[in-house]
């Protein structure tokens, strides 16, 4: 009589401990995803900080490209105000495209191309581009880890019960994977 009670109690405690462990491991994975995401944010911020500088520099040499400047300024503002993974990824891709056209336009202005300031900015931006790509890679590998954790047995039971959602991958177009580079 008494011994059955003890056995039941031990099983319950063991089960409780196991659930506790599972729950915590899911939470840890989730925290890692959000930490990795804030890393992307840091790099995106770096990038948005560089753009006004770039616009000023290019403006000095190429006054006629007004449309392009407006576009890049607008997209920069969009990126700053973007919320959520999907939106940020989307706006970020657009911005990459526009930056590319700016560097393409710069081809037509030899003075601009030769300016020390412009060359430095170009290097900085290309480097930031790489950094965004790498931080995204780190983020995505954490997302993969977390999403896998939600789907394997027995975690899937807890995940369903407590309504854990899959984390979103930070998408990149093939176009955008390539660094912004202008050949001279």
């Amino acid at each position: 009589m008494n011994s059955t009670l003890i056995i039941v109690a031990v099983i319950l405690v063991a089960l409780g401990g196991f659930l506790w462990f599972l729950y915590n491991s899911i939470i840890v994975a989730k925290m890692r995803v959000s930490e990795a995401f804030s890393q992307i944010d840091v790099q995106l911020k770096r990038r948005t900080d560089l753009i006004p500088n770039l616009v000023e520099t290019v403006k000095g040499y190429a006054k006629h490209e007004k449309e392009l400047f407006e576009k890049v300024t607008e997209e920069r503002a969009n990126l700053v105000s973007a919320k959520g993974v999907a939106e940020k990824a989307e706006v970020n891709n657009q911005l990459s495209q526009t930056l590319k056209s700016i560097f393409a336009v710069a081809e037509a202005y030899p003075d601009l191309k030769a300016s020390q300031n412009f060359m430095e900015l170009q290097e900085e931006i290309s480097d930031t581009e790489d950094k965004v790509a790498y931080s995204r890679q780190f983020y995505n590998s954490n997302v993969l880890d977390y999403n896998t954790k939600l789907k394997v047995f027995p975690n899937v039971i807890i995940a369903r019960l407590l309504n854990f959602q899959d984390a979103e991958f930070f998408g990149a177009t093939d176009e955008e994977r390539k660094p912004v580079k202008v050949s001279f």
């Binding site: 480097d127 780190f138 880890d145």
Partner: protein, 300 residues
Amino acid sequence: MNIYSAISANKYKTWAIMLLFVLVITTVVYVFSKALGYGLGFAGIALIFAGITSIGSYYYSDKIVLTTTGAKEIKKSDNPELFRTVENLCIGDGLPMPRIYIINDPSPNAFATGRDPKHAIVCVTTGILTILDKSELEGVIAHELSHVKNFDIRLMGIVAILVGFIAIAANLFMNQLWWGGFGRDREDRNGGAQGIFLIIGIVLAILSPIAATLIQLAVSRKREFLADASGVLLTRYPEGLASALEKLTRDPHTLKSASNATAHLFIVNPFKGKETKQLFASLFDTHPPIEERIKILRSM
């Protein structure tokens, strides 16, 4: 595999190796003390010796290596391109930024050291910076950072402690046999069983240090392959590392400042031309054959 799962996989493997070593050590010590008719006293002495030397080398190995190879620390302004490459790859791996050192030597090579990611050091020669292009250098740096990420330096440190322990224990045993009480009070002990242990003991004293070294080298080669693979996972460009390895082997310079004690750290064996093709000799290599590494990289 991201950094977290790589670390936990590495921890399990470390424990498995430790277990294997503890088994070997217990057997060896048991046989030795039986054969000498002593208690476990000398096992304690061997452990203390091995412990002190290895803990010392664990904490100071980076400084020793950096001093003997004549490496100099650089700042970002000294070589922004190299710095950025390391920075970017660290972001991709979620590692803190290591310190960067340069060896002034035309022989192209690189290594990583430091006991954990917070104390990591990545070191390259001026030779490697001249002959490799950007994607090749990225491949090499990613390989080195993977050693850091996988805690390889710590793993090899622990293995070195255990190898050292076995070597010292075997040495003490042979010394005792030669100089100690063996001849003097042999009659006092119960002859038959001890005689058998004596023979096994001598065999073990000769074989176990070799066996331990072979395990150590096998672990080292496995870690090289793992670092190649996880490096490529980071750069997503196996060809970069493959062509870098090709260039490194084709280069005729040997690294003057490397020694036998530091050779295992480098991405390719710093003493070129001494690589042997025979199966038996290859058991004693710290690195897997380059051709094989390149073949695996190209098939990824």
